[in-house]
Structure formats: structure tokens, C-alpha cells
Symmetry: C2
Subunit: 204 residues, 2 copies
Amino acid sequence: MPRIPDIVVGRLPLYLRALNRMQAQGVDITSSHELGQQLGISSAQIRKDLSHFGEFGKQGTGYNVVSLIGALQHILHADRTWDVALVGVGDLGRALAHYGGFGPRGFHISHLFDADPAKIGKKIDGLTIQPASEIEQTVKSANLKVAMIATPANTAQAVADTLVQAGIRSILNYAPISLTVPEGVRVQHIDPIIHLQRMIYYLD
Amino acid sequence: MPRIPDIVVGRLPLYLRALNRMQAQGVDITSSHELGQQLGISSAQIRKDLSHFGEFGKQGTGYNVVSLIGALQHILHADRTWDVALVGVGDLGRALAHYGGFGPRGFHISHLFDADPAKIGKKIDGLTIQPASEIEQTVKSANLKVAMIATPANTAQAVADTLVQAGIRSILNYAPISLTVPEGVRVQHIDPIIHLQRMIYYLD
């Protein structure tokens, strides 16, 4: 398959989320037009994005919601459960550890790490907080590929380096800092300011 | 000024963040090429986006980093400080209340609300947690336009309705639910799964 632009890949999870909502509402069939209206994306763009991956739906009959969900999950590798290491169990890390939204959508926080001796050994929902010194060995032996960083900014890069060294290839970064990672490793940065600024443009 | 596509507006905060980093590194002059490489956006796209708002930089001499930061802050209304109401002071809300990244980038959490009687009246960094029943009156009298929702999913829509009723026009939603708001109100949804799925596409 030819290389798909990352911007296209980035829209697929949005399509998947919208389709999951439709399914929850009992919708069987949808269209690029309806999807586009929900997402604020043109129907032509949606058809073009999906055409990278094959033929979905038929002209005039729309998309079967369940089939398209299955296809997108398969394309995104979201048709399995990914174990995730979470580093940093402060307020935010605890919120993530408790978050109920990961499981139904293919992710499972399987390991918790923190550098604070007062936290190490404590449990969150049955999962024991391990010392940060165990990251490398644990990530390797559990063959983890996905991690979330919820540490303070000043330790996030060192944590990322250790994670990458241990084999992590996808990092969701909540620390307020831009991480540098080698080629072949992906980082997504959760930055609330980006979202806030996008909205205040519309305020007077 | 003609209406700017929202997709363009959405990229401006990314440009601003990249420029702020350059400034912190002592960079005085940059180019659409350099910005594009940092952001994974084509230089042509960046030039086109900025051309909506006027003439920045000169052909061949690049952009003055400080000037472009100032211009983008002005365009985005990020050249002032926006007071923000935060509803929901659980683990996540507490993490947001403590987050040091808002102030330097134009946002100030000015009010905290929670429905839990055990939390009401307690203070976080000097700010008292108010009962959710006071949202409407407080938001109105303080003339707040921006809010963050960090409540459980099952109360988020009711909270959003109250906030909108009171005059909020920009909502950053951390609750794992899609909010419905009237025309003229903007919602951005912080959804970690979208970011995770975008990355696992690249894993085997």
C-alpha cells in the first residue's frame, strides 16, 4: 500500500468516533455527507480519505456503519487491545488511571511508574505503582509499544528517552514540554492551550 | 475581513507555540520552511494561512519571530488574559487547577466549581471551590466567556447547558462525551484515544 499522508491518518480516529456514536444511536447506514456535517469536514474529503484504503459503501447507498467501524478499526490497528505504560501518577496520572474510556476503545493501562518513593508500591485500581528505575526492564519484558507521560515538565524528556530506549514507539505526552524523539517514534502532545486559543479567536 | 476557515484558525496556535519555542531558544528570524519542518506542515500551507491576515515577512528575508508572535497573539485574541471557569475538581480538575502552563499563555483559572459537598469551600492554590449551584450567577457577574469541564460524563451536558445559559461561549471539554451546544458556542474535546489511535496506525 502506498504511504498514506499522516494528516489523513489523523482524521480516521475522528471518523471512527463519529461512527461509534451513530452505532450507539442505532444508525445502520450513513453517508460521507452526514459524517461530514457531524465533523465539520467536507464529504469530498471524507470520500477521498477513505478511498486510500479501498472501496467502502456504494454510490447512492451510503456506508454500512458496522462494516466501516470494523474496517477503520482494522486499518488503525484498533481491533486489538494495546497495553499502555503510564509514567507519572500525580493528580493527572491518577485521573488517567481511573479514566474508564480507554478499555472500550482498545487501550489498557497495564503498568504505572512514578519516581516518588511515597507512591511506589501503592495501588490504583489493583495496579501497583512501580519505581521509575524499573521502566526499562518492565517495558522490555512486557514488550510495550505505547506509553503516556504525565510527569512534570522537567523530567519528561528523560522519561521519554528511557521509554524509547526500552522499545516504546508511541508516546502520548501530557507534560507541558515538546519532546524530542528519534525517527520512527511518534509523539502526540495534549496541550489544552492550543484548543483554548483556537476558540478565543471567535470571541470579541 | 472575510471569514477565515476554521481549519486555518486551528493551525495558528500551532504556529504560535512553535514561534514561542524559537524565541525561547534565541532565534530572531525564521521561515515558512523552518516552521513547516518543525510542524510537519508544508511551507506553502503556512504562507497561505498567514496571507489571510496580511503581509508577514518579506520574500527571502523570512519572518521576524517576535513580530509574528505579536501578530498571531493579536489575531487569536491571546494578547490578553482570559479568566476561565473550571467545573469539576476531581483528580483531573485538580491537575488542571495546579497546571502552570495557562498563565504564561493567556489563561487564568479564576473560578472552581464542584457538586460534591465535601469539596465545596475547600481551597486550591488560594481559590475556593464553589458549589455548582452558583455557576450561573457567578459566570454572569464575572462576565466569563471561557470554561473547562472536568466532570464525569453523566453530568457534563447539564453543566455545559448551565455554562452556556450563563454566557460561556468557549468550552474545553475533558469529559468523555460529545457535548451539544447552540450555534455560536464552541467546544473542543480533549480525547486521548484520538491521539493514541493516530499513533498505533504506525505500529505492527
